[in-house]
């Protein structure tokens, strides 16, 4: 079957359950996201926003379900996926320069034993220019401010030249001007039919930033275009009602070491 490429959804998550220490932190998530959207993942602390991204990227083991990107298994399309981890996830005292970090974005495309070439360097510099960091190329990352660190990570993700981008809190610790610049950049990317999925905290800016939202609180509350989905009562449900029974059952599973899923007898 020859599928129309742009009709394929960018991300499909099917019945995804993820557990830490056996306690489910995401319950049976089902969602689908079309291509070319700027998507915000919204929810309170501990709602499993980062967990969702990480499990889609294959960084965490899944208890059930599967994820597909462009209707393919993640490992088959890694070259089309880009990732911006949380800024605190790395040691910023690491002795590398901004350019070194951005070049890492090219590593996935190079094979074993291959070294980055001039063309890769050009891409990296171009990405640094896009985030306004070209004058910092040779700066050591230890000397960057929080916003500059974030922009470095963004440039690294851009250097992957992917079709779908997962960003874990790219606005954390970023000043207002940088945030604006980043969001404009993301806009131009989605205009070119790239899909950008962003874990976001600030409710004020949701409607103006994103054209698609995922409301999450250990379970999926809503998923859809911002205008129809980002409503007062949906927000109330995301932030207000904690499902005590659900988390009690989760605690029970962890405490007693119960299996998350029955083993299938075939």
């Amino acid at each position: 079957m020859n599928k129309n490429i742009s009709a394929v959804s960018a991300l499909e998550v099917h019945d995804l359950t993820v557990a830490f220490d056996r306690k489910p932190v995401l319950w049976n998530i089902d969602l689908e996201i079309p291509q070319g959207k700027l998507v915000g993942i919204i929810g309170p602390n501990g709602a499993g926003k980062s967990t969702l991204i990480k499990s889609v990227m294959g960084l965490l083991p899944l208890s059930s379900g599967y994820c597909k990107i462009f209707d393919e298994k993640i490992d088959d399309v890694r070259h089309r996926i880009s990732y911006v981890p949380q800024r605190e996830s790395v040691d910023w005292d690491f002795p590398v320069s901004v350019l070194d970090v951005v070049m890492m974005g090219r590593y996935g495309k190079l094979g074993l034993l291959k070294r980055p070439r001039k063309a890769d360097l050009d891409v990296a510099m171009d990405c640094l220019r896009k985030v306004g960091m070209e004058s910092f190329a040779n700066r050591q990352i230890a000397q960057l401010s929080g916003g500059q660190q974030q922009r470095t990570f963004l440039a690294r993700a851009l250097a992957q030249q992917a079709d779908i981008y997962f960003m874990d809190e790219p606005f954390a610790g970023v000043d207002a001007a940088t945030e604006k610049a980043i969001i404009n950049l993301l806009r131009t990317m989605t205009a070119a039919n790239k899909t950008v999925i962003v874990v976001h905290h600030d409710l004020q800016s949701v409607s103006s930033y994103f054209d698609w939202v995922i409301l999450l609180n250990t379970r999926l509350v809503a998923n859809g275009p911002t205008t129809s989905t980002f409503t007062q009562d949906k927000l109330q449900e995301t932030y207000g009602g904690k499902l005590t029974l659900l988390s009690d059952v989760g605690d029970l599973i962890r405490r007693e070491n119960f299996p998350n899923r029955e083993e299938k007898v075939l």
């Binding site: 890694r78 690491f94 070294r115 230890a142 690294r156």
Partner: protein, 290 residues
């Protein structure tokens, strides 16, 4: 000539350890390196017993395996037995090291190893063990040949797999997302640390090799913000410590390996105080100016 051979051996050991140590301390695995260097001891003794000689290949394999087992055990205790990671490291290496020391005492007659050798090696004797070619030419001490091979392997691995080692050290989560196997590079590195520890064992002993793994990279870490330069500087620190340590040991009539470790500490202290970028004097000055 002996001086030269000893300093050369020390330098080869120091450079090998320093290069690997840079990765260890940046990955926050300094103490796993410490644990491995202790825990390979029973492997060395057993390889000795089975092969009946100090022939290096058996030993490197035997003890290299044990080094990997150590990392597995630490992870097993941590993940399966849910023991906190610091205690998992502490319990594992003390246990394996104790077995090694007891094996040495039990087979004292059969194994040409003693507790002193475990502690600080026999670098002073390296020139005595020369490789002699047919025709009676003295080639070079065996330790130098072995350590050169180790160093060359390390250099080759770092040269060819620089980008993999760098990205998995800096940002393992991102590396996984790119499709790199962090576990593979982790175990490769641990395997190299084990092999290097074993190869260095005769020269500097099981414990002082820790000083060479950790201290020169830590010193370099205070002197530069560039990873390639860090590799170079830590090697340099290792060489300087080897040479100055040798003369310190001669002057005091003490253990050479111990003196090298002491010199490493001294060099670190100098960098800690006087480093132009990260020294405490610089920090004080900056604060005074502000």
């Amino acid at each position: 000539m002996n001086d030269f051979w000893i300093i050369l051996t020390g330098s080869l050991v120091a450079i090998s350890c320093a290069l690997l140590g840079c990765f260890l301390i940046l990955r926050r695995m300094a103490l796993v390196g410490d644990a491995i260097s202790h825990a390979v001891l029973p492997g060395i003794v057993l390889a000795f017993l089975f092969s009946g000689s100090r022939d290096s290949l058996t030993m490197v394999i035997g003890a290299g395996l044990l080094g990997l087992i150590t990392t597995f055990l630490i992870e097993f205790f941590h993940k399966k037995a849910k023991l906190q990671s610091d205690a998992a490291i502490g319990v594992t290496f003390t246990w394996l090291f104790a077995i090694g020391v007891v094996l040495i005492s039990l087979f004292a007659g059969k194994v040409d190893l003693d507790q002193d050798c475990v502690l600080y090696g026999e670098i002073a004797y390296t020139p005595l063990d020369m490789i002699i070619l047919e025709g009676g030419y003295l080639l070079a001490p065996k330790a130098i040949v072995v350590m050169s091979c180790v160093l060359i392997s390390i250099l080759l691995v770092i040269y060819f797999f620089y980008k993999e080692l760098l990205v998995t050290s800096f940002d393992p989560g991102y590396a996984t997302a790119l499709g790199f196997s962090t576990a593979f590079w982790h175990y490769l590195l641990m395997g190299m640390v084990s092999a290097t520890t074993v190869a260095s064992f005769e020269s500097v002993g099981a414990i002082l090799v820790v000083a060479l793994l950790i201290v020169p990279p830590a010193t370099a870490y205070l002197l530069t913000d560039n990873f390639k330069r860090m590799l170079l500087i830590s090697s340099g620190v290792g060489v300087v410590a080897s040479a100055s340590g040798y003369y310190l040991a001669v002057w005091m009539d003490g253990s050479i390996a111990a003196a090298i470790a002491t010199m490493c500490g001294l060099l670190f202290a100098l960098a800690f105080v006087f480093s132009p970028t990260h020294g405490i004097l610089k920090r004080k000055l900056v604060r005074a100016i502000n």
